[in-house]
């Protein structure tokens, strides 16, 4: 699909020589001066476009060419309109020749010329002027010959509304609202005579007004909507389509226009809505199935709404249109594209209803029956999941006011969607966006939200790159004190969840026994009864049934072969980021007991992870960072968890396999196991810690590393030595033991290379550190203040502390010396 040919075309276009380009320009000017412009002109213009657009730097055109192109914008042949607009968009207007948006007559603009003007607008004022002119053209009566020329006006206005709503004035809003009402509600209900862009010969005899039809073929009995069909369409029916296409955006933004203050006062609104509700004494979700002589319930009361001001009237008509769409979407369309359109219309209708109910609360009571019925109709069919999301949004926004029970909605949304539709990228995107936008509301109104993370994380486990961004935003809201531990375990086992989801999908797709194929061990395990429980735990929908499982190591073994599956690897790469966010958040909500529990989990899980290359290392790095942070914030944690920490530190094997986290454990022991951090720290505790670490240090420095392992990293050795020195400085009886070891170390290393350290520079560094510690320990008092500084020294107050603040001292001294 993409070939060398294309590459070389682009290269040629970029590297064209100036002289050649000039020749091309003059040739083109000559071509365009001819009366009849043919294929050659088209091709040349196209090449010019390629030359201009192939580079990001702007090329300018000679004035003559530019002028000629400008005039081509109003050429009768559309091809030239398109090409000249495209070319001019890629270049700059001639200086001094810029369009004066205020003075130009824009009435006869075609779509392509308008696009050019819009793209060249240099300021808000330009956009405003363009807007004003377009609205004038809307207002003035259009002649028959310009049948489709209004069509592009609405999209342009919508664009302006998107970028800069203040370009429209209150009058514009009123005008456009009136027009929209006409097009939406009062478009013709007979079929058009042919293609709108003119000249279809239909003799007067064949001209019988045929009514429009619904998508299932029945004759339509109510006003025209986008879900109505006919052989051809009239212009106002086209405008109906364009109007509906921009309606939601219009309703969302029209009050942010210039001078936009809501003029209808509340009392007035209330009175009007009361008078309307009297005439709506029927049930809105009643659908008539009778052909022909149907009077749609929806439009029965259109007469009373004529009393309303334009914006309110538009709201009322929008309401009716949406109700009709919802009714029409229940019909069985003949074509697949129409079925898709019906779904899109449902989404749009519910969103518009949500919007109008937000502006006029009295509409909620009229709307809810319809929404409820729709929910009932669609909730059992997951292919309508993307329609059910806006419905859920409606419930969230208005459910409380209408005192409606939303339980079934949340069970569906938080229960079934993630569990069954995790592999649908669009649903995932929309679902997570729904969560992000409504976080506060959800945390308030949906009690099961914070417990639904096992389900929600399925989206991440399946397609990490696409949704990790969303989870970075969402994860903090899922961290609560009650579920933090379980969440941590779940995050660490996310790659396992990823593998399980893949197995689940494969299990449903593949036959029970692959013919002649190599059976996957993990797939067999997934399908076998004895391991079912393990996988079911991972696939659980709600938190609360246990932090993790006992047979985690079994699970990891079963999934060992999945460690190189791309989905699993991609998932594993996102876990460290999420862990950082987890720890950052949990610190704010956790009490010391929870933090102690988390430390335990970290120590435990450091050796219990799915064996994916680099995964273990990354997780250890995260653990180390946060272990340090937690202990710094709450030093008493170390004394509290001393048993677990010592158990970890006493295992010599960890020096070789988990040196990162081992080093940090040793460091926190050395730093915070002291009476000044926690009064429960006894001499006996210090001594037992000392002995544990001493044993490990002896072991690793007295013999070669075990077969298969590298030499211990120098940092481990020095950390152990420093920790021992720190502990000794708190319990002076231990000092001789440390000093003895350090001097022995010096002696041994003088004798030549050692088995446990391969690099000479590293050895020198270790020995140097040993000597420093040894000389420090010769003066125990000094050692104590250096190695176990009091908090006053480590967290100095300086100017913050009024008692030691320099200015205060100076003032005192001054007063003393100047007391006379």
């Amino acid at each position: 699909m993409y070939s060398h040919g294309s590459e070389s075309l682009i290269k040629q276009a970029r590297e064209i020589q100036e002289s050649e380009l000039q020749k091309f320009h003059s040739r083109l000017v000559k071509l365009l001066q001819g009366k009849e412009l043919g294929h050659e002109a088209v091709d040349s213009l196209q090449r010019l476009h390629l030359i201009l657009s192939a580079t990001k730097y702007t090329r300018t055109l000679p004035p003559e060419l530019q002028k000629r192109l400008q005039s081509l914008l109003s050429s009768p042949a559309e091809q030239f309109q398109v090409l000249s607009s495209a070319v001019l968009r890629e270049t700059l207007p001639l200086s001094g020749q810029e369009v004066n948006y205020n003075q130009e007559n824009f009435i006869q603009l075609n779509s392509h010329a308008a696009a050019l003007l819009l793209s060249q607008a240099g300021s808000r004022a330009d956009v405003s002027s363009l807007c004003a002119h377009l609205l004038c053209s809307l207002d003035s009566r259009q002649s028959e010959g310009q049948a489709n020329s209004l069509a592009h006006t609405l999209p342009i206005l919508n664009t302006v509304l998107t970028h800069s709503p203040e370009c429209l004035t209150e009058d514009h809003v009123t005008l456009l609202s009136k027009k929209l009402v006409d097009w939406l509600r009062y478009a013709s209900i007979t079929q058009g005579g042919g293609a709108p862009s003119g000249g279809f010969f239909t003799g007067p005899r064949s001209r019988q007004p045929v009514p429009i039809a619904e998508l299932d073929g029945t004759v339509s009995g109510d006003f025209f909507t986008v879900l109505c069909v006919g052989q051809g369409f009239t212009e106002d029916q086209w405008m109906n389509v364009y109007s509906f296409s921009m309606l939601r955006h219009w309703l969302l933004t029209y009050h942010s226009v210039a001078n936009g203050n809501n003029t209808a006062d509340t009392a007035n609104k209330l009175q009007l809505s009361l008078s309307l509700s009297h005439s709506h004494s029927f049930c809105n979700d009643d659908r008539s199935e009778v052909d022909g002589s149907v009077v749609s319930m929806v439009s029965a009361t259109s007469s009373s709404s004529r009393l309303l001001p334009p914006k309110e009237r538009l709201r009322e008509k929008a309401f009716q249109y949406c109700q009709r769409l919802i009714e029409q979407s229940d019909r069985k369309a003949h074509k697949r594209t129409d079925t898709d359109l019906q779904k899109a219309c449902l989404v749009e209708a519910v969103c518009i209803l949500d919007c109008v109910c937000g502006e006029d609360a009295s509409l909620v009571f009229r709307t809810f029956p319809c929404i409820k019925a729709l929910f009932g109709r669609l909730s059992s069919d997951l292919s309508f999941a993307r329609v059910l999301l806006p419905i859920a949004q409606f419930y969230l926004n208005h459910g409380e006011m209408a005192a409606v029970d939303c339980e079934s909605v949340w069970t569906l949304v938080f229960g079934r969607f993630p569990a069954e539709l995790f592999n649908s990228p669009f649903l995932a995107h929309e679902f997570l966006r729904f969560l992000r936008l409504n976080l506060e509301s959800l945390q308030l109104r949906v009690p099961q939200y914070s417990h639904s993370f096992p389900n929600l994380l399925k989206f991440l486990a399946w397609d990490s790159p696409a949704v990790v961004d969303d989870f970075v935003d969402l994860l903090p809201s899922l961290v609560t004190a009650g579920t933090a531990v379980e969440l941590l375990h779940t995050l660490l086992d996310l790659p396992c969840l990823s593998a399980t989801l893949v197995l689940q999908v494969r299990s449903t797709c593949l036959p029970i026994s692959e013919p002649g194929g190599r059976g996957l061990l993990s797939l067999d395990a997934f399908r076998s009864q004895s391991f079912r429980g393990l996988f079911l735990f991972l696939l659980r929908g709600e938190a609360g049934s246990g932090d993790t499982i006992d047979r985690l190591s079994t699970l990891h073994e079963l999934l060992a072969e999945t460690a190189d599956w791309p989905r699993v690897v991609q998932c594993a790469q996102t876990v460290p980021v999420l862990l950082h966010i987890f720890f950052d958040t949990v610190i704010a909500v956790a009490d010391e007991k929870l933090l102690a529990h988390l430390v335990q989990v970290m120590l435990e899980r450091s050796s219990l992870l799915l064996n994916i290359p680099k995964y273990n290392k990354e997780i250890h790095r995260v653990f180390s960072c946060h272990l340090l942070r937690l202990c710094k914030l709450h030093p008493s944690l170390v004394v509290d968890q001393s048993h677990e920490l010592l158990e970890f530190a006493g295992a010599t094997a960890k020096v070789y396999s988990k040196e990162e986290i081992y080093t940090h454990v040793v460091w926190v022991l050395g730093e915070y196991l002291s009476a000044s951090c926690d009064s429960r720290c006894s001499v006996r505790l210090i001594t037992s810690c000392f002995e544990t670490l001493e044993a490990v240090l002896f072991e690793i420095t007295s013999s070669a590393p075990p077969p298969g392992a590298d030499c211990p990293v120098p940092r481990v050795v020095t950390s152990l030595m420093s920790a021992l020195a720190k502990l000794a400085s708190r319990s002076h009886d231990l000092i001789p033991r440390v000093s003895l070891f350090l001097s022995k170390l010096r002696t041994v290393t003088r004798g030549g290379p050692v088995a446990w350290c391969s690099d000479e520079e590293d050895l020198v560094a270790i020995v140097t550190r040993g000597e420093e510690l040894w000389s420090l320990l010769k003066a125990p008092g000094v050692a104590q203040s250096v190695l176990t500084p009091p908090p006053l020294v480590t967290t100095p107050q300086w100017h913050r502390d009024t008692n030691v603040a320099m200015p205060l001292r100076l003032r005192a001294l001054t007063n003393l010396t100047h007391s006379q």
Binding site: M1, Y2, G5, S6, E7, I10, Q46, H49, S53, K56, Q79, V82, S85, L92, S111, H112, L118, S119, G122, R124, V127, A151, H152, L154, P155, N158, T159, V160, T162, H163, S164, S197, L215, V226, V229, G232, F233, V241, Y242, F244, S245, H249, L252, K335, T337, D340, L341, K343, A344, E348, R386, P425, H429, R433, D463, P465, A466, P566, R567, Q570
Partner: protein, 200 residues
């Protein structure tokens, strides 16, 4: 509203770096967002154009990365389809949606819907509150038309030399970036107009 529509490569291109993408067609709708924001008000039109082109490249690169990660994860093998088999190519295409954070590269958050047909990607950048079901359908439709009118399953250079056809297509199906609710009759009518344009 749709902010832009792109056709770009999602396969490795020799002249470019590993993650880069060659943009074959791009159309940005609406006024330049630079003139309306406070930051970039002092840029000249030329600078604004460069900025816009760069934003488009950023989108193309992000989608390229999303496409390759998605293809890697699904493990499906790419099968070259012959010209004439556009329907099959479209059926086999993988699709998805990427979130473009505010500032990266557009001032506000955007959703980039993409469809990867073998070595090319078709991307529609929409505002996130937009009806994505409708956008998905529109993207599908646009891609089908592009594949057919520009014979993209073959050599593929026509997209560079006949970009006016894509412009005409967009002016009907996505006028000024407006997504349209078109039932099959309306769509047929517009497609007839496009066919008439192409035939000239």
């Amino acid at each position: 509203m749709v902010r832009c529509f792109l056709i770009h490569t999602v396969c490795p291109v020799g002249a470019l770096g590993a993650g880069d993408s060659r943009v074959l067609y791009s159309r940005v709708f609406g006024p330049d967002e630079g003139i309306l924001s406070d930051q970039n008000r002092d840029l000249s039109p030329e600078e604004r154009r460069v900025l816009q082109k760069e934003k488009v490249s950023v989108v193309a690169r992000q989608v390229r990365s999303a496409v390759s990660l998605s293809r890697e994860a699904s493990g499906r093998l790419l099968v070259e389809t012959e010209p004439g088999d556009e329907a099959l190519a479209l059926q086999e295409a993988d699709g998805g949606v990427a979130r473009l954070r505010a500032g990266d590269p557009f001032a506000e958050e955007m959703s980039a819907l993409w469809l990867g047909v073998q070595s090319l990607g078709f991307t529609l950048v929409c505002e996130p509150h937009e009806n994505l079901l409708l956008a998905e359908g529109t993207l599908h439709n646009l891609t089908r038309h592009c594949l057919e009118t520009l014979h993209m399953l073959g050599q593929g250079s026509e997209v560079l030399l006949r970009s006016n056809r894509v412009d005409a297509l967009l002016s009907r199906l996505l006028p000024h970036g407006q997504l349209l609710f078109l039932n099959h009759r309306f769509a047929q009518s517009l497609e007839k107009e496009v066919a008439a344009y192409v035939a000239k």
